[in-house]
Amino acid sequence: MEVLQQIWTGSGLYQITGDQLAMLGVCLLMLYLGIVKKFEPLLLVTIGFGGLLSNIPGVEIATGDGLLHLAYVMGIETGAFPLIIFMGVGALTDFGPLLANPKTLFLGAAAQFGIFATLLGALGLTELGIMDFSLREAAAIGIIGGADGPTAIYVAGQLAPHLLGAIAVAAYSYMALVPIIQPPIMKLLTTEAERRIEMVQLREVTKAERIIFPLVLLLLVALLLPSAAPLLGMLCFGNLMRECGVVDRLSDTTQNSLINIVTIFLGLAVGSKLRAEQFLDWSTLSILLLGMVAFAIGTASGLLMGKLLNKLSKTPINPLIGAAGVSAVPMAARVANKVGLEANPQNILLMHAMGPNVAGVIGSAVAAGIMIMVAS
């Protein structure tokens, strides 16, 4: 019977390749990490499921007119989804701790060293003939070190769309692994005495400062680095809606329905780049390795800047909060708090670590702006 033949040749059992099976396994692992281990579940569950759908053989869902491919074309290629997420992040972010202690911005700056060191690493692998990355690709890989999902997706979508799947998976995986990656480095680079340092309580921040801050940041971006304006502009817009107090209904929708809807389709769209033929590649493996290096270097440079700042500052600064400068909001700040508590049970660093934590978001958006301007 022809029809039975057609069903059989159309079936997954007939068409599936070993690579696709492997990718189904990888995606199930991502779902396991998201659901059971609770690692960045909002993204690992959506990306993982998108990856499952994309590796079903013989069905047009992550290609052509399929829903996931449409989401990719309309949301990621245009940059719309990461920018809207950034608006939502702005609406969810309290810049109060940063306003109370602006010098923690330097911690967020230092931690971006991971980005550029990784870029250099990727180019080094190319120089050695092990890999073959262009400057654009190396820049996109480096941004994993920014430890900020939407920034990584935005930059990869602009500079190296064919690597977006690997870069997004690496970024979210390492952000999830922050509680495992960071503590050993923190203990290696700080003394017990440094970890015990208690910090003075943050001052209260006025409403006016909160409202003016996103405008000041935007104007600085406009004057100094316009290529960072899309990312930081949307962040500032979201934050202005949050703080200005007169558009609470817009701010609420941005923090809830809108960011949730976009997260769902962003995750599925990123998942559509996990197709076996694109993802199973040596470059993916090296991206995962380089991403790990990026995180470690970013953490280390944040800590070292923390030690320096502690020496220079009049008020004591616990170097641990420098590790939060990599972003990975709010996980990195929680890790800094936890390691601080281990050394000194009276030491509540959480709010102090939120300053460098959000500074890291700004820092990596600035780095992204430079990458996009120079590499494109």
């Binding site: 911005l105 550029f116 250099l120 180019l123 209260e204 003016i212 940041l217 430079i370 120079v374």
Partner: protein, 68 residues
Amino acid sequence: METSLLDQGVTLMIVGMGTVFVFLAMLVLAMLTMSAIAIRFSSEASGDGASDEEVAAISAAIAQHRKR
């Protein structure tokens, strides 16, 4: 002479970290200036001769009010 890819990378690293630091340093300056003005303005708005305690109290009250 063509610059090698690695040289471009080193340049980008130096310029990039430089820009990040310069940008964030200027943001620190801008924030300190802005906060100074905002707090001064708040204290003036709240009556003549507001003492430091009054400023602190107002700040706290505003913060309290924000916790809706």
